[in-house]
Structures are given as structure tokens and as C-alpha cells.
Amino acid sequence: MANAVKDERVQKTSPITTLLRRPEFGALMGALAIFLLFSSVDTTGNFGQPGGIAGWTDIAAPIGIVAVFVALLMIGGEFDLSTGVMVGTTGLLTGVLVTELGLDLWTSIFLVLLFAAGVGLLNGWLVVTTGLPSFIVTLATFFVLRGANLAVTKQFTGTVRVSLTEETANYDQAAALLASKIEFAGASFQISILWWIFFTILATWILTRTKFGNWIFASGGDANAARNAGVPVIRTKIILFVMTSMAAAFVGIMFVLRLKGMQAGQGVGVEFFYIIAAAVGGTLLTGGMGSAIGASLGAVIMGMAYIGIPYALWDSDWTFTFLGLILFTAVLINTFVGKRAMKGRKK
């Protein structure tokens, strides 16, 4: 009976093909290439040293924390364009709750996370009930929050900035946990890097080792087939929106503690950084495939570009252009290599 199927098995898969098939492979190669590039054009001699690494991982960490969850959401077949502005909103809200309303810092942080979960829930609920593309729904959320950030901030402070002072009760505790520095190998690294590593591992574990992760792949891969197999697609998607929104809030809280305040315009435009990181990391824009580690590597690439360009004494006005080219090249290579590897496996 097996005869008909047996001839599909002629070729053994080489370990290289297996490696090429991994979605984060392209991002890993990209990160290595970018590292070598900036190391070779570096004029400070510092890029590959602890001091330089502390610099570009500091840029990468806040991008990476949100990007891994954006990647999960995208694998689940949805977009969230409100993540960037959410960083601003939650930072501002923390500041307003503490400074203007006099709430305890820990209570404020808790309420802000709850608020973010609520916005994520609303995003998800609107997407699944209206059937509108999440691109549109979250674009609307983005603009609603963007306006609210400015209006509410001005309402409370009369300026476009909310500040948070070190005198705030419990500031030391919260800052130690979320906005301190760690001396390591003669350089000071931001604690956000540890959180970034933690969230990358957490997201990878969720995605590849849990039932929920299986449902994420299924919901994004083919929502209908997933539903037929008994996967709660709607619940899966809503939870993903909530997680993404809360990750953005986490970064917002980190920023307001570190910067001891927040501008009303903070975070606007950053949502694309997360999407770029996820896409560079091998996440399919149509869903169903991707990796959290890949998104983190995408964040590393961005961090390296941000630090590497001034280190090379290039005109840093071109940073965005550089990132645009990286995005295009990486996704092109991912698609090409991925397709080749898939075919290589078939016969």
C-alpha cells in the first residue's frame, strides 16, 4: 500500500537544507553580514568592543521586545500599526497617573498594563467582529491614540511633555528593575537587554513549544482549516493583539522611567521598525510562518545600523534609507532561499 508514497522519499534532506528552511536563517546571515560590514568601516575601533555592543544592543532591545510579539501577531495573520504610538501613550499615561493624579508608581504601572491589554482587546475584538483588515482597524487606533496623546498631555500639563521625577515614591525600585544599567566587561549595558532576551525566549517557547503556538501558526496559515480542526481562531487572534499591545506598554513604561518623562509624539513611526524587524526575521506578511528569534535578529540589525553608521562617519541622515534597503534585500533573500529549500524537500 505504501508503494505509491515511497518514491517521494528518494532524497535525504541535507542538514544545510534543514538550516536554510528555518525562517530566521536569513536574518542570522544578515546580522553577521551587517556586523562584518560595520566592523570593517568602523573608524572608532569600538563597534565590536563591549562599549559598542552595549550601544547597539541598547537600540535593539526596545525594538526587539515589541518586535517578537509583533512577529507572533503577524504569524497569526494580523497586523498592528498602533504599537509604536502605544509606546508613547503608555509612557505618557504612566507619567500622568503618577505626576498629575498622584497615584503610586506601581499601581500606575499595573493600570497602564491593564489599559494596554484593553486596547489590544478592543483591536482584536474589532478585527474579528467587523471582519475589516487589521491594517485598517489598527491604523485607526494609531490615529486615535496619536491625537489623544497630544490632547490629553496638553490638557494635564499645558505642554507636550509629561515628566516623572526621581523623587517619585518607588521610583528607585521600578527603575532598578526596568531602567538600570549593568556593568559588564568594562561597559555599561542597559537592563532592557535582559528583558529583551527574556521576551525573545518566552515568545519562542510560546510559538514552538505550546499548544497556543500551534494555534498561532494554524490561524495565520489557514484560518478556515484551523477552525475545521477545532482551533479557537478568534480567541487566538484576540490574545495575540493583547500580547502585542502589552509588550508596547512594557517598553513605554521602560522609556518613561529611563527618560524621566515622555514627549507626546514619542513612538510615532516606530511601529514600522517592529514590522521591519519581524519581516527581516523571516515572518511572512501573509501569516503562517515566522520566528521570534528572527524578529530579534532583525532588531539587532537595526541597532547595528543606528550605531554603525555614525561610527563609520557616514551621514546618519541616510539611516532610514539604509534600513529600507536592508528590509527589501532581507525579505527578497528570505523568500528566494525559503522557496528553494521548500522545493528541495519535495522531490
Binding site: V5, T210, A218
Partner: protein
């Protein structure tokens, strides 16, 4: 042999449109019941009624002799009625084992640390597929790399493994070539051998005749004919598929002759 499913004079109306009129059929365990019909004959409505998507407007729907009333496909699945849809059975980019256990994942550990038992699922899916006669080298490969027939076969094996008593196959061979159809038909038979009541919905009398034990002919929402395996021949079955269908088959044959 026991009757697993029975429809008695089931009618389904959508507003003023009558999609099915007083359809009666019996599906027995360990046999293949074929429902033949042309496009628009009411096959989809019948499938959706059997799988719990639609509720009958009138008539009786019995499972194991007891009347049932499904509010959703999930309820039908829980009762052991599994439906394998033509294109919506598997998720191409996911591995074979992930597809096999999708929605029925095996986990180990407790509470927030509960995780997939990947080793067990890989081994089990490989073994279960082998028992159905599907011999895969690697259950880690994306299911999209398998052929259409093999994908249908995996979906059938999955339904059988998760205890389907009734297996509804929606046009499983319609998009497949001859050899691929052959693969699927073999798995239809192995499901039958395992005691499953198979409902095979098709517009291809040739395929139906190869595996069927009982044949129902559906036309314009009505059961127009019923045959038992032992007293029907293939050409009778083909002829019986109503005038239009007969003509279509003829045209098909003529065009083939002309084409070659």
C-alpha cells in the same frame, strides 16, 4: 452492521429556496456510502447538514438511533462526525505532525509550563500514518510539500485516529489526477476496514463505484435513486446520474476521444 447515521425525510429551506426535499438516507458503520450528484444537486447542503453546520428545517436526523440536534460543527465533531473538506483540510506551511494533532495537541507539564509533547506527537503521527499505509520519511516536513492525494490521506488518517465514527469526505478526489485519486480511494477503504462509517460525496461515478457499498443519487435536492453494491453495474450508475449528468459524461467522453 449497525446504522450510524440516518436521515428521515429531511428538508432544508433557506428562506424561499428549498435546497433539500425529504431526503432519507442510511449510513452504516464499516461501509462506504456514496452520495452522487451533479453540481447544484444539493450535495453541499447535505454535507453541511450532516456535519452540523445547518439544522434541518423538517425531518429527523438520527445518530446511533437517537435523534440529534447539532448547534455547531464542534458538537458534531464531539459526537464523532468528522468532515474532511476538499481544500480546507490541512495547513500547508505547518509540518505533518503539527497538522495531524492540530486542535488535539498532546501536552506535558502543568499550568503555565504545559508544553507540547513533540516527541510523542511525531512518533504517534508517523505510526498512525503508517498504519493507514502512508509511509512518510519525515513528519517534520511542511504538509504543503506532500501531494494533494497524500494531504487528503493525512486528513483522513487524522479523523480516524481521533475516533471519528462517521467520516464525511467532501469531493476528496475531484481536484486530483488519476494516481492521486487512487491513493485517496485506498485510504477510504482502510478507514472502512477500521469500522468507520464513510460518507463519500462525489460527482464521479467511477470513483464511487470503486469503493462504494451503497449509492445514493441526489438531483435537484431530492434523492432520486438508491442502489446496493451487489445489484448495480458501473454503467447503470453512470446512466442513473440523471439525464443531464449522462449527457455530460457522454460529452466528456467524446471530448476525450477528440482530444486524443
Amino acid at each position: 452492521m449497525t446504522v450510524a447515521l440516518e436521515l428521515k425525510n429531511v428538508t432544508k429551506q433557506f428562506g424561499s429556496v428549498i435546497a433539500m426535499t425529504e431526503v432519507s438516507m442510511e449510513v452504516t458503520s464499516g461501509s462506504v456510502t456514496c452520495v452522487l450528484g451533479d453540481n447544484g444537486a444539493g450535495k453541499s447542503t447535505l454535507i453541511k447538514t450532516l456535519s452540523g453546520v445547518h439544522k434541518p428545517t423538517a425531518g429527523e436526523f438520527l445518530m446511533d438511533g437517537q435523534p440529534v440536534d447539532f448547534d455547531s460543527p464542534r458538537e458534531a465533531i464531539a459526537k464523532g462526525i468528522a468532515t474532511v473538506y476538499q481544500d480546507l483540510a490541512t495547513i500547508p506551511m505547518m509540518s505533518v505532525w503539527r497538522n495531524f494533532f492540530l486542535g488535539n495537541e498532546i501536552t506535558i507539564g502543568w499550568g503555565p509550563f504545559r508544553m507540547l509533547n513533540i516527541k510523542k506527537m511525531k512518533a504517534l503521527s508517523k505510526q498512525q500514518l503508517l498504519e493507514m499505509g502512508i509511509d512518510l520519511r519525515d513528519t517534520d516536513q511542511p504538509i504543503g510539500t506532500l501531494s494533494g492525494g497524500e494531504r487528503q490521506a493525512v486528513a483522513i488518517a487524522r479523523a480516524v485516529y481521533f475516533g471519528a465514527k462517521v467520516l464525511i469526505l467532501d469531493e476528496p478526489t475531484s481536484a486530483l489526477g488519476v494516481r492521486q485519486s487512487g491513493i485517496v480511494l485506498k485510504y477510504v477503504l482502510s478507514a472502512k476496514e477500521r469500522g468507520v462509517a464513510v460518507v463519500f460525496i462525489t460527482h464521479n461515478p467511477h470513483h464511487a463505484f470503486l469503493v462504494g457499498d451503497r449509492f445514493y443519487l441526489l438531483n435537484r435536492g431530492k434523492m432520486i435513486n438508491e442502489f446496493q453494491r451487489k445489484n448495480v453495474k458501473l454503467d447503470e450508475l453512470t446512466m442513473a446520474m440523471a439525464g443531464g449528468a449522462e449527457l455530460e459524461a457522454l460529452t466528456h467522453e467524446i471530448s476525450q476521444v477528440k482530444g486524443k
